[in-house]
Symmetry: C2
DNA sequence: AGTGTTAGTGAACACTCGTTCTCGGACCTG
DNA sequence: CAGGTCCGAGAACGAGTGTTCACTAACACT
């Protein structure tokens, strides 16, 4: 066994990339194994050398995405700082990450319903951990008077839906660039929790 | 031809109801004509006495929904009033309507990609008209100084995504009732545009 | 040289898909 | 009673579904 398998065949990653693209475009049910194979340039039967089933392929994509998202968020937001600083970092991170990885995000958001129970059990805790981080920030800020908001649980979900929505309309290049859009969302989020964005 | 067809056979409406339910649950591609027919209690071939194709059935559902949504919104929001009043009415309407008709809403939001060009041409203008109403409110309020916001186009999309997101988590009965949730969203929206909600 | 692994092919399996066709009762109208 | 319309059943169409199979060329390791 080689230590770090050298320039391993990239078919598996190709499959991931093309499947992600197709799933995001047509939905899980709307894409066939032949579509995916054809997009990569192999026959459908060869997919089964890399993934045991279509469902496993979907779970692989979603789980990898959620782990990367969670890890990147924790790096960007960090465990310390004032609630306002952390909320700003969270919002900026979420929007830019979603702009940069729209297909991953879209998939994870839309295809939860296509997951069979096993996959669901693997994905939901990751999503919950992500959402919990935002809720914790809001609760800390609400307690110490930084934020003015009615209900942390509802507002955290509301903010998350707002931030995630950027994937629906944003396309580069457009009237606004990535960072300008992110700052607009950051300002709106801060105002939404009763915090003046400036200064 | 009868004037107002008396107690017309209800199969067509049954088909609409059950198809809406199934599409919302499993997605357009994930539901077969046999599933829909079985749910209503007829064979799949009988559907074609009422709708010429599966695609027409989807377009029928989406178009009816968008027309009802647009009409109901115009009744609730009205053409006059201060920007703050109109934004409040819009947010309250949007959340309560989405809570009451979650399947219709979910369908219209998620299955745009399942529409073939003809259907798309029928639906998109209706959706655009709806969104334009919110944008007009924001622009009026931004111009007269009621609202403090960075970019009307971005913020209107952000708010709409936030409000629509209520369908993802809200289930009755829960910790909060319909109207309490709606008021939480109204407050958050008002703060998001730099407006104090109270008074 | 011989062995096992990896990653392809092409054919086939058992179904399911949306749709079309023929047919037959139920009902309304003259 | 006769004719037409509506709405259902049942069978069938060709195409497409996820998956499995036997097989093979290329490569790595002893």
């Amino acid at each position: 066994m080689t230590l770090a398998q050298p320039s391993r065949t990239n078919t598996k990653d190709d499959l991931r990339t093309h499947a992600r693209h197709l799933f995001a475009q047509h939905g899980y049910e709307g894409v066939s194994m032949r579509d995916i194979a054809g997009s990569v340039g192999i026959r459908q039967s060869a997919i089964y050398n890399h993934f045991p089933s279509k469902q496993h392929l979907l779970v692989d994509l979603m789980e990898n995405h959620m782990r990367r998202l969670l890890e990147a968020m924790r790096v960007s937001v960090g465990p310390t700082g004032t609630p306002k600083e952390r909320l700003t970092a969270f919002a900026r991170f979420h929007v830019t990450y979603h702009i940069d990885q729209p297909e991953d995000v879209f998939l994870a958001y839309m295809e939860l319903r296509s997951l069979e129970p096993d996959g669901r059990r693997a994905i939901l805790p990751l999503r919950d951990a992500y959402e919990q981080t935002l809720r914790d920030i809001l609760e800390t800020g609400a307690k110490d008077g930084t934020f003015r908001l009615t209900d942390c649980a509802v507002v955290s979900r509301a903010l998350l839906a707002m931030l995630t929505g950027v994937t629906v309309w944003f396309r580069e290049p457009g009237r606004l660039d990535r960072d300008t859009v992110a700052e607009t969302y950051v300002n709106t989020v801060l105002q939404a929790v009763g915090c003046t964005p400036s200064q």
